[in-house]
């Protein structure tokens, strides 16, 4: 029962990492798109691509929080009392990101768009960084089972910094591939090239970070390293292969296939983390079944998950399909 709840939770984490991550990554490219004139076209595409979907993608985060605090309440409290600094900063980053994006769509003067856009874009880079450090702190076993771990070293440490940088890189990569595919769908060769170059650059950079990360994990988070090179190895390899394939096929492949490969590359990393950590929730000191809520609660969460499968997944598919077919007017 607790394993099932953990799987549901991790589906949420993966969905947020990939879908929410792509939205954050779009903010990365928005931030680095250059001055008002030069960055106008890419920003326009980012705006149109993100507008209808970012809120729905954002709800995955709420889903994860709720699943965690209901299904594994003591672990939730432990994480919150230890990693409160990056969590607090991430929460404020979310406010800046979401409201900045919503405001930018309405204002028209260049300086106002610059201010709201900068708020959106900067926080789109900072927020996933903090989430990455949080993941690193949890994965490297720095959250004690009773909470109140070290408020600084729990997220300022090699694995957390790796997690933060990797999160920003993966988000940027996924977003660049998505936006390349989107530009191709719109038959915009200029923008397609613009995002393709960035997809390639971010793939190389993220790949390099991931390779360096092997050494970091080996030195700093032995158990995670063992898990990723043992049980999780197939997933890590799939991730690397998907990443390479998406870069190799970036010129030719169907947009849909490109998106699937980017999702695969990012998603399998997150799933790999989960597989490597099983059956522990925190380090090697709190097992899933120890942290789990009573069965009736887990059964309720299962019902909610089933309802989500029946209601939310088709609705979200409808949103994505309408969006991809250009039925949603985002101008």
């Amino acid at each position: 029962m607790s394993t099932f709840a953990a799987v549901v939770l991790f589906i949420g984490v993966t969905a947020y990492a990939v879908l929410g991550g792509a939205d954050y990554g779009a903010g990365f490219w928005d931030l680095t798109a250059g001055g008002a004139r030069r960055g106008r076209d890419p920003r326009h595409l980012i705006d149109q691509t993100l507008a209808p979907v970012w809120e729905a993608n954002h709800v995955w985060l709420i889903f994860c929080l709720v699943m965690l605090w209901t299904g594994f309440p003591s672990a939730f409290a432990a994480i919150m009392t230890t990693l409160y600094i990056p969590l607090g900063l991430a929460a404020l980053g979310i406010v800046v990101r979401g409201s900045g994006f919503a405001f930018r769509k309405v204002v028209v003067k260049t300086d106002q768009q610059r201010a709201t856009g900068a708020a959106f874009a900067t926080s789109s880079v900072i927020t996933p960084f903090f989430f990455g450090t949080i993941a690193g702190g949890i994965a490297s076993g720095r959250v004690p089972a009773d909470g109140h771990g070290d408020p600084v070293t729990s997220w300022v440490n090699p694995t957390s910094l790796l997690g933060g940088v990797l999160a920003v890189g993966v988000c940027a990569f996924v977003a660049a591939v998505f936006l390349t595919a989107e530009a191709r769908t719109r038959a915009d060769a200029h923008l397609e090239g613009w995002f393709r170059r960035r997809a390639q650059a971010s793939a190389v950079a993220t790949g390099a970070v991931a390779l360096a990360g092997i050494a970091v994990l080996h030195a700093d988070a032995g158990r995670l390293f063992d898990g990723l090179t043992g049980r999780g190895l197939p997933l890590v390899l799939i991730s690397a292969a998907s990443g390479l394939a998406s870069i190799a096929l970036l010129h030719r492949a169907e947009p849909r296939l490109l998106q699937a490969l980017a999702v695969g590359a990012a998603g399998t990393v997150v799933v790999g983390w989960g597989v490597a950590q099983y059956p522990y929730l925190l380090g090697t000191h709190l097992r899933l079944d120890e942290a789990a809520a009573p069965d009736a609660t887990l059964a309720s969460l299962t019902l909610v998950a089933a309802a989500a499968l029946l209601l939310v997944v088709p609705s979200m598919a409808l949103l994505f399909v309408l969006h991809q077919r250009g039925r949603l007017d985002t101008a």
Partner: protein, 475 residues
């Protein structure tokens, strides 16, 4: 107090409050107070939008369609701000109240899980609806708005179920300070769920109705008395005027439920020093040193209202064990907030009756400028009443977070300097709040300059060709 465990009380007698208690409470109150203003616009404003939309399609009414479309743009901005400020609340439950979540999450969390589901549906269909005006056919587009309204209702009921559970907790068994058994249906349908949930839902419809009506009443006072403004006033005010009497009825039931099942809160609401019969209803005044000072006393009023008889016995604040008795200051806050809420509710009932009477007699808005003035301020008043109602239920539960089980000072986190977090949050929210107002005024000015329907604003028109880039660059 029912369910009051002496063990918990004894355990909490120990040392002074943690340093985090005050900033945590201030921050929770501030962020919740901010978020709750946005709630009616996600929950009920979308309903007003659909009324205008349906009317527009059915009667081929361009003005109604224009209103619906513009309202959906406003709703989109407010929904975004509400989504992120709601996320902050989720974080805060853990960051500020880890011992509430760590110990009671297994029960308390269940309604939130259901709420998550509704939030998903709402976010998805808000997007489809808001961005569907140009390229979807009218009725299918209308129907994509219906799940927004329904999930808004479902979400409200779920979140309020969680809050109601804090007031009247149930559905769980504890052993050695841990929840060992949960009965989910009892958690959700706890004693306070029914009246609290309906009360909040109706409040959301009142706030949205009066606020939106107020905006157009202000425009009419400035001489813009075209059909656009009249319809913009009539649709929301009709909804609000229908809901208000219902709300007063539900509020009356709620007060009697609180009297029966949350006697400590009721004692604070009525500022009753000692248990007894023939308890007067005190309007205004303040509570200090075991006495009510000032205010207007209606003899036996409170007894009559709670049990239909002057001999109805009401438990006073003296019946609460001293160590969990709310301080005088809090009693005054709860008592005055209740008076403010009921006072405003009564005034809004008067406004509703005025509107209903004019409509019944002449099928038209009341002609008096005073009617427009009253409608203009009714929105602000409704928001004040909403906040006051939340103060009653939240402050009225103190010193408990989970009544009878967990004291607020035992729920709060014990790590970190929360004042820094609070200061950053206030600064950010002030900026976001100010920008939200600015952006809404910008929309209003843009629409005013456009006047009535312009080509780009006509919904369900032919698809437009390539146009100017709206979101050009920044640094």
């Amino acid at each position: 107090m029912p369910g009051l465990s002496l063990v918990t009380v004894g355990a909490s007698l120990a040392p002074a409050d943690p340093a985090q208690l005050l900033p945590a409470r201030e921050q929770m109150a501030f962020t919740l107070g901010f978020h709750i203003i946005l709630v009616p616009f996600g929950v009920a404003f979308t309903f007003l939008m659909l009324i205008a939309n349906a009317r527009g399609i059915r009667r081929n009414d361009e003005t109604a369609l224009l209103l619906a479309r513009r309202w959906s743009q406003v709703a989109a901005v407010l929904f975004a701000v509400g989504a992120v400020s709601g996320t902050v609340l989720s974080f805060e439950l853990g960051l500020l109240w880890p011992r509430l979540m760590g110990t009671y999450g297994a029960a308390f969390g269940i309604p939130f899980a259901i709420e998550g589901l509704f939030f998903f549906l709402e976010a998805i269909f808000v997007a489809i609806y808001v961005f569907g005006w140009q390229r979807m056919r009218p009725w299918p587009h209308f129907w994509t708005g219906v799940p927004v309204v329904l999930s808004g209702i479902g979400g409200t009921l779920s979140v309020v179920a969680a809050n109601a559970w804090m007031n009247q907790p149930g559905g769980f068994t504890m052993r050695d300070g841990k929840i060992v058994e949960v009965r989910p249906l009892e958690v959700i349908f706890n004693g306070a769920f029914g009246f609290e949930a309906i009360h909040m839902l109706l409040a959301a419809y009142m706030v949205a109705g009066f606020v939106v009506a107020g905006v157009y009443a202000a425009g009419m006072l400035r001489g813009r008395r075209d059909r656009y403004h009249r319809l913009g006033l009539a649709i929301p005010l009709t909804v609000a005027a229908l809901v208000t009497p219902l709300q007063i009825f539900v509020g009356d039931i709620a007060a009697r439920e609180v009297y029966r099942n949350e006697p400590a809160k009721f004692a604070a609401i009525e500022a009753v020093p000692t248990t007894g019969t023939h308890v007067p209803e005190v309007l205004g005044g303040y509570y200090a040193n075991g006495k009510v000072h000032g205010g207007i006393k209606i003899p036996s009023g409170a007894s009559l209202l709670s049990g239909y008889s002057p001999s109805t016995r009401i438990q006073g604040l003296d019946a609460i064990p001293a160590e969990v008795r709310p301080p005088d200051r809090l009693v005054t806050i709860v008592h005055l907030s209740f008076d403010v809420m009921v006072g405003i509710g009564t005034a809004l009932l008067g406004l509703s009756a005025w509107y209903a009477l004019a409509w019944w007699r002449r099928r038209d808005l009341p002609r008096s400028r005073w009617f427009l003035r009253a409608t203009t301020i009714s929105g602000v008043l409704a928001v004040v009443a909403l906040e006051a109602g939340w103060v009653v239920t939240e402050v009225g539960r103190q010193p408990w977070t989970v009544t009878g089980h967990l004291l607020t000072r035992d729920a709060v986190t014990t790590s970190g300097n929360l004042w820094l977090f609070f200061a950053a949050t206030v600064a950010l929210y002030v900026a976001v709040g100010a920008t939200t107002v600015y952006v809404l005024r910008l929309l209003r000015r843009r629409w005013r300059d456009q006047g009535g329907a312009t080509e780009t604003d006509v919904p369900y028109g032919p698809a437009r060709g390539p146009e100017a880039t709206p979101a050009a660059g920044q640094a």
